[in-house]
Subunit: 324 residues, 2 copies
């Protein structure tokens, strides 16, 4: 779905806005911005803003595009800080800023993008978007902090995992939908249904990301595959495999490997364990359940543009069908 | 001045607000917040908010205190990220979060505080404060990025230095005054004069900080003394000493030391050079000029509470008289 003419137009509008970031800034900032590739990514958050705004007469309007660009910049800011936390070296097929320029300057690069994201969103002078946005940012931090504290903990429950991904990922996807709704003056039950759509789609998105990290390869993924396991992160495929395997020698061995911080050197064995105990299938199923729930919330949306609503549903479908 | 009854009351109000941060959060966040000491600091930004708001009938009002707490949290967030950039180990007499918990979790700790700062400020639902706030945050990042790119560059001009400190420090002090003014409905020429007061006081504050980094000792300062030089940062005392010394063997030697990244091991010689060529006196003089300018801007403020205005002037005086 991400290749049709309308989506192409939307991507162009978002990208054009984003290009302006850092243009009037000082020499050092320009130098740093030259190292940050803002052109990449699937722009799912920006597209969600635009499609949601389109539900109520704001098709690709200037203000919708401003908010879409703001959400993409905010997302990019979180990725830069994420890459510091994870010591990540590759992202979207390129070296990370963390790898290229070091974590010190990356902290400031992320902060600068966050401030610019806020400035884009401020153009609308709408305090309601800010309310949901900063609640979401606080949640993202909370989710990431929980994730760090659960490093090398393979005994995390599915519920704990859902809590973490709801905070760290789904809240930004939810807020993109909410921001699009606010821009278009959508409120009441429609706003609530769209918000829930955002949460479920966001959960599915992260589950799919965690599956692809295991099943995909580096050229397709654009970043190092298997990196979650190497970093000692237990994601849904592993959690479900552990649950399917039950207590026993194999599960105990996997636990030991994680708890001793030796997940990185046992990546292959861990992936075999996940496959043997159908962890990937279970995670795929959960993602599909979430997308079904997301689409159900869309069905509850009334009296808004039916075309845009259909396309939001297609977007949800893409989230679990994608290959990277 | 920071010890009288009124200031004590203001500090209590700010501290009480700040104590609530992270209270309702998840286990990991509470654990992290337990490592962040939010109780310390001089609270200059918070006090500036309260004193400015008091100029027009908002003496210690709930909304003024919310904004004051927000500005202090924002300041603290920037310090946490600063400490990552500088690899700082001590601050306010305690180990930094960076030293205690590592730079990865510190990135998230700073982000979490920033989001909470925004949430405090959002309580007022006043978009104007957000406009000035995010413009200031963007400037702070810009100043810090410029500073990083000027590491080991001793040939930085006073003008470049002023540009950096105006961005990285004065913009947050200016915005504290502006936020206090907005809360109290101060606008027009009074708002402009107060803004300029904030900038000049902020410049003086950073110059004084840079002087103290050379002249003070660790117990008084609460952080490692001489750290600017050790990190290869050329601040005003050195820049002025270089200017006073003119071109010659000594100046060339200092340049070489910085450019070869050997400032840390030559700290003592560099400080001797600064003292010999009256760099400290020149910087003190510049700070005094800035405070004089700041007070002049206060004189242009009309028809507002005279007591609070006097106290803002005293605050400016404290900025250059302080010992830490």
């Amino acid at each position: 779905m991400l290749k049709d003419k309308d989506i192409k137009k939307k991507l162009e509008l978002i990208n054009k806005k984003i290009e302006s970031v850092g243009k009037g800034a000082s020499k050092g900032v320009k130098h740093l911005m030259g190292k940050i590739d803002l052109s990449g990514g699937k722009r799912i958050r920006g597209l969600l803003v635009l499609l949601t705004a389109e539900l109520n007469g704001e098709k690709n309007s200037e203000k919708a595009v401003d908010i879409a660009a703001g959400m993409e910049l905010l997302h990019h800011a979180t990725l830069i800080h994420d890459d510091i936390v994870d010591n990540a070296e590759k992202r979207r097929g390129e070296e990370t800023l963390n790898k290229m320029a070091g974590y010190q300057i990356s902290v400031l690069g992320g902060d600068f993008l966050l401030a610019n994201a806020a400035n884009f969103i401020l153009k609308q002078q709408d305090i309601k978007i800010f309310n949901v946005m900063f609640e979401a940012i606080s949640k993202v931090c909370e989710g990431e902090i929980e994730e760090v504290y659960n490093k090398n903990n393979p005994s995390i429950t599915p519920e704990q995992y859902y809590q973490i991904i709801q905070s760290k990922t789904a809240s930004l996807i939810r807020v993109s939908v909410q921001a699009g709704a606010v821009v278009a003056g959508i409120n009441g039950k429609n706003y609530d249904a769209l918000s829930e759509f955002g949460t479920e789609a966001g959960m599915a998105f992260q589950i799919k990301d965690d599956i692809l990290d295991i099943t995909s390869d580096e050229p397709t993924l654009g970043k190092t595959a298997g990196s979650d396991i190497r970093e000692g992160k237990a994601t849904l495929p592993l959690i479900m495999a552990m649950q399917n395997a039950g207590r026993g020698i194999e599960t105990a061995a996997i636990c030991r490997v994680f708890e001793n911080g030796k997940a990185a050197e046992n990546t292959k064995n861990i992936i075999e364990f996940i496959k043997k105990y159908k962890g990937l299938e279970a995670a795929e199923e959960e993602a599909a359940v979430r997308i079904k729930a997301a689409k159900k919330h869309l069905k509850a949306v009334k009296d808004l543009n039916a075309d845009a609503l259909t396309r939001l549903g297609e977007m949800a479908g893409y989230i679990i069908d994608r290959k990277n």
